[in-house]
Amino acid sequence: MKIDIHTHTKKCKTGDSEHRNIDADRFEEIIRLTDVKILAITNHNHFDLTQFIEIKEKIGDACQIWPGIELDIVESGRKAHLIVLSNPKRAKEFSETIDELLVGKTADNFTISIEKTVSSFDSLDPIYIAHYFGKTPNLLNEDIDRLTSLVSNKNRIMKEASNSISAGIFISHGHNSIFGSDVHNWNDYQEISKTLPDLRLPVESYEQFCLLLEKDNATINTILDKKTKESLQLNVFGIAELIELDIFNDINILFGSKGTGKTEILRSISKYYNDLGFENNIYESNSKKLEDVFDLKGREFDVNCAELGIDNCAEEIRRLRSASEKNVTSLSSFLRYFSVDETNRISRNLKIKNYTQEDRSSPERDFKEVQDIYNEFEDFLEYIDNEETLQEVVGEELINELKSVLNKINVKLKLDSQNKFIDLKSVTLFNQLITVFVEEIARKTGQPQKPTTTGFSAYASNRIEIERDISKINSCISQSIEPEVAYVGNLGEKGHLFCQTNLTIQNGSFVNTNYQPVKTATKSPQKNAATKFVLIARHVYSSSLFEKITEFKQIDGSETINSINDLLLFYRHFTINDEHYTPSTGESSMVLLHNELSEEKEMYLIDEPEKSLGNDYISDVIVPLLKQRAQSGKKIIIVTHDANIAVRTLPYNSIYREHDANGYYTYSGNPFSNNLNCNIGEKEDLDWKEISMKTLEGGRQAFGERGKIYGNT
């Protein structure tokens, strides 16, 4: 929620930019694109009640429009600008007052004294905002003192700074300060609005804003109570010191000197919510290392070939292990057969024994091929029948059309499959017939059996199968795997940090000491097995093939290599711009905290997030993230010694732990009331700002740069 207490809707003075002119329609269009929820129209020496009403009606509830004017003050011969805002309920009177003052004058030549200003407007429930210091033409301190002495409520005087940094410095010096856009060109307003002050507490009316300027506790508590909160009673340090805390669905800061038990309280809060079923854990800076979080050593890392789109070749490796040589038919069996005269007449007449056996493997492959296609189609038809969503999306008519075509294809495939089956069985039966006749003739006649094969076919088929297996294994091993890259975090100017996981499959010659086997595999059998696979491939058609296979089976740890999964190697490291990078401790902390806060959770419990982090990173990255989480209603409980976090987040709830000679005390309060109340009521209230400045590291600086409109003025 942004506030802009200084805008112009008209070019009133000669020197004003024409781009200050804006009509209600365009105004509404622009404001709706911003987060500005309160806006004061403060034209130079001019107030247009008609335009004010028109804009107010047009914008409706999207933004509160407050009436105002930027006056040319002349005091002791010096010129300065002073904004006067009026209660919107009294806009008509405000307008009439200005009309009276401007009789016979123009915006260009109108001037007014401080005394006249106060006497004219003080009855209209005004807020005075003086141009101050760098915001020129400015009132001097003596002019503001004069204004203070004349107004009925000095809390209604604010000083306008030129930007948030100046406003923060004024606030740190005890000045009520704010700044506005002083818009010159409405076309730039959407961008300008991003730099306007944020209202941490939702302000629903001009009156409520005025009460906040008074630091009216009742108002602040009313607003705070609108936030969801829970009251906790914690027994952190024993029954003697029960701690009662309110935890808001917003930022809750737990601060105090070291050794006052803040971390123990945080753990107790964590346990309280865990016991209720709200799972949470405490983020502790430096308790985790980035390399452990991203598991650089791969203790938990596991991946398999299927996930990488590579066949793991488990079946091929199994077959390779169990492969054995096929014997060939001895030549002596041919010699034996032909060296004996065939004397049996019937035997001589049985020509079938002389037939050569036919090739069975070819029709077998043909049959299997068609059968596989047929099965695929059958599976697809089954899928269509069972997939209800497909039927719903495509419709019954189209599905039936598809099924009809598929069924026609299947009929053809089935027919072809049947024919190929017949071919296969014919060959099988024919070969069996020859074998049976040859065996029976030999048995009945007592003559040597005629060999029916040289053994070449079985021998060659066996080798071919080994070649296919080993080729597939080596082909899969040689596949390159794209590195997996995971985003780690932003290291600012250095760039984005990534965690890269390089994967490769040991091919027998891969050497890189950075790479480690995935999971339980060990390096030596990986390398030795892969080397043997290469050798086996080279010897498929040599006499030493089975020696090489035996060597593979006999390597140490061979039993651990059962698939290509067992040959996987990985190397995980961080990168920036594709270059290897080792983040420092500080950078690791930055990334871890950022990731913790980026994670979607119901509650964030954080112990000393500032550890190892620079102020700039906390202010520019962490504080905005905390605010963003708070805005979406998350519980954020932070133990901190850092003012950047404890102050700049403007927490709804500050819990302060104090220790003195009499014991430990817990205070609760907030920056808006600027109070810290002792929970057991034994101690006097403390000043939130004073305690924050005293206790927190960088407290004074944080207040100096804060630039918020209220909280601790």
Binding site: V328, F334, F456, R463, S543
Partner: protein, 111 residues
């Protein structure tokens, strides 16, 4: 050495010569390959390791192209009968294995 080329199933098939070498010490079947090398299978003694070595070489030749053998011998004796039968069976098996190599795309690519 190459006697003729025959066409079978659309593929050119080379017919190579198989001869019988008879000496006092031993008798062998010689398979004369197209590059001039003769593969020897001894008929008078069982030497399965050597036969397997010849088979390995035959597979390597088959990857380069389809072929079969024809026995050429003018002496009608036991060895001729043995070799004729052996070559007849081997030829059928060569065709079968060539087809298997082809189906599994294991043939050497033609230059």
């Amino acid at each position: 050495m190459v006697d003729r080329l025959s066409v079978k199933e659309g593929k050119y098939m080379e017919t190579l010569k198989a001869s019988i070498a008879r000496t006092e010490a031993k008798t062998s079947l010689l398979l004369h390959m197209s590059d001039g090398i003769a593969l020897e299978i001894e008929l008078t003694e069982d030497k399965p390791i050597e036969v397997k070595a010849v088979f390995n070489k035959i597979i390597s030749y088959l990857k380069k192209g389809k072929f079969n053998f024809e026995v050429e011998d003018d002496k009608e004796d036991l060895y001729l009968h043995v070799c004729t039968e052996y070559i007849e069976q081997l030829n059928a098996e060569l065709t079968s294995i060539y087809s298997e190599l082809e189906d599994y795309e294991l043939l050497d690519e033609q230059e």
